[in-house]
């Protein structure tokens, strides 16, 4: 089968590789559509020292599984494959399993391929009302919903989202379901317009903005974004770090101490509310798709996703 493989040497190439064999408890999934995430670009630059097949956002059809009810079903999949036995699994924090593999990110081949394997327990049926190019957004939408598990957001809380990229947009749409007192800050008129078309307030990064936000979500992945977040959040407010940056950041920490700010890292989230929001259209994703490539041209898809002004790039198998 075909797969977009990141080699040890850092080369990214579409290659012929053997079809994967599902292990015990795992399903074999024929991938229909996969999405390129910024993390894929960071991995290609050396983040996590990953090598193997890239990709962790997908929708596909189960071709083989021990559970007969899964076979032939259209599914999306959680990316953390966990041991159920370590300290953190037993503490009900499976996403932090010490022995985990992560689809296309850590010790497990990913979704930019004709086939992938995942534990059956990781799979969720994709609702018929969510087309492939919508269902493929389940994983990043779940990551946005993770914020609502970590921070209580009241309906009059003032929320600022920094970043108008893919993840910033999803965070804005998801948190907008909790409070209308929200503004998404970005640098690109056309990206911000996708949100204002939905009725969500937006601002340009160089506009002055009222300080004192209850919650600020940092989704720019930049040093400046983090500094701005610390400026905008109120005393005892919360800054959610939603993006990982592969290099160290110089920070002035006396401000956060004096103002008793909470800074909280946020990663993978719950699939159920994400699937519901996508299937009901409460979160709209199709205008975010900039371009589509076939798996045979997946290297070009990755390059395209790294160009300025590009949002989501999809790969059709």
């Amino acid at each position: 089968m075909r797969a977009l493989v990141l080699s040890d040497g850092g080369e990214v190439q579409v290659r012929e590789v053997p079809e994967p064999e599902p292990g015990k408890g795992e399903a074999l999934v024929k991938v229909l559509v996969a999405g390129v995430c910024n993390t894929d670009l960071e991995l290609a630059r050396g983040y996590m020292n990953f090598s193997g097949t890239l990709g962790h956002e997908f929708v596909g059809i189960v071709e083989h599984a021990a559970n007969p009810h899964l076979i032939g079903k259209r599914v999306v999949g959680e990316i953390n494959c966990v041991c159920h036995q370590c300290h953190y699994c037993r503490m009900e924090m499976p996403h932090h399993c010490l022995d985990r593999s992560v689809l296309g990110i850590l010790n497990r081949n990913g979704a930019f391929a004709d086939y992938l394997t995942l534990p059956e327990e990781n799979l969720h049926l994709a609702p018929a009302s969510a087309r492939d190019d919508v269902a493929v957004f389940t994983e990043p939408t779940a990551a946005a919903f993770r914020i609502t598990e970590q921070v209580k957001i009241n309906d009059d809380d003032r929320v600022v989202i920094l970043g108008d990229g893919k993840l910033g947009q999803l965070c804005a749409q998801v948190l907008w379901l909790h409070t209308k007192n929200l503004v998404c800050v970005g640098k690109h008129a056309w990206k911000l317009k996708l949100l204002s078309d939905l009725g969500i307030k937006t601002a340009f990064a160089d506009e002055p903005l009222m300080r004192g936000a209850d919650v600020v979500v940092e989704a720019t992945g930049s040093h400046q974004g983090f500094e701005r977040a610390l400026e905008l959040v109120r005393p005892e407010g919360t800054v959610v770090l939603k993006t990982t940056v592969a290099h160290p950041t110089a920070l002035e920490l006396s401000g956060p101490v004096i103002n008793e700010i909470k800074i909280i890292g946020s990663r993978c989230g719950p699939f159920r509310p994400a699937l519901e929001a996508l299937s009901l259209g409460n979160v709209g994703v199709r205008p975010m798709v900039t371009d589509t490539f076939s798996l045979s041209d997946a290297d070009q898809a990755l390059a395209r996703a790294g160009e300025p002004g590009v949002m989501k790039v999809l790969i059709h198998m």
Copy 2:
């Protein structure tokens, strides 16, 4: 009267200054004993751009007040003087009052003087069972209790305190009231011994330490301390930043995001539990006093407090 004054130019000198006039709602307090805090040393180095009389830890006698019950009483005092009218005062976060002054730190002369003024509402009666050289620790002990208002600490939670200095020791003793599963990490055998004499577990900074702590309190004020805190805390655990450092710190933030760490700044705390713990002897402070100076030699007291291996320096009026 005498006062230890930090001038605009950064000079620290004992000077004759006029006795302060209490404003409306304020009491005039004759200072008995004051304590030198690391923040005083940072202020002398330019932190907060403060100028005026230094000092914010004290015990004294009320000489003048509108409330007759206060006159002649031995008191300690909260250091934030607030407006009760701004947004944060009305949100019950008076410590974050936008219009606040802070004793010896921000727009208000401090306690290294024969007299100080504070709003009457800031004063707490010092229990007779807490001698002057104990009651003077109320403010920093309250700062340690602040952690228990911000982070729920269960009796089986594993807590690591980084730093065996004055604040580290107080944090260790206060959190030890909540969990015995606690270790204080420092660099000085004799300082750590003060804690082990109380039955508190200690370790040297260069010893390997079990990772996966539920809560890590950073009280070293150093870059290395913060990095170590991020190493030692468990996924979804909490790092409490208890010290302010006046220069930026380079941080690798992808770890905290992947592990979904909470980082929380922590400043001033509640006086009531601090007074109770000090008067009952649940927190022991007298072994921490390294040296005592008279107010006339307060500049030497500050210099002494900055020497290596020195813990609390007191100033008697």
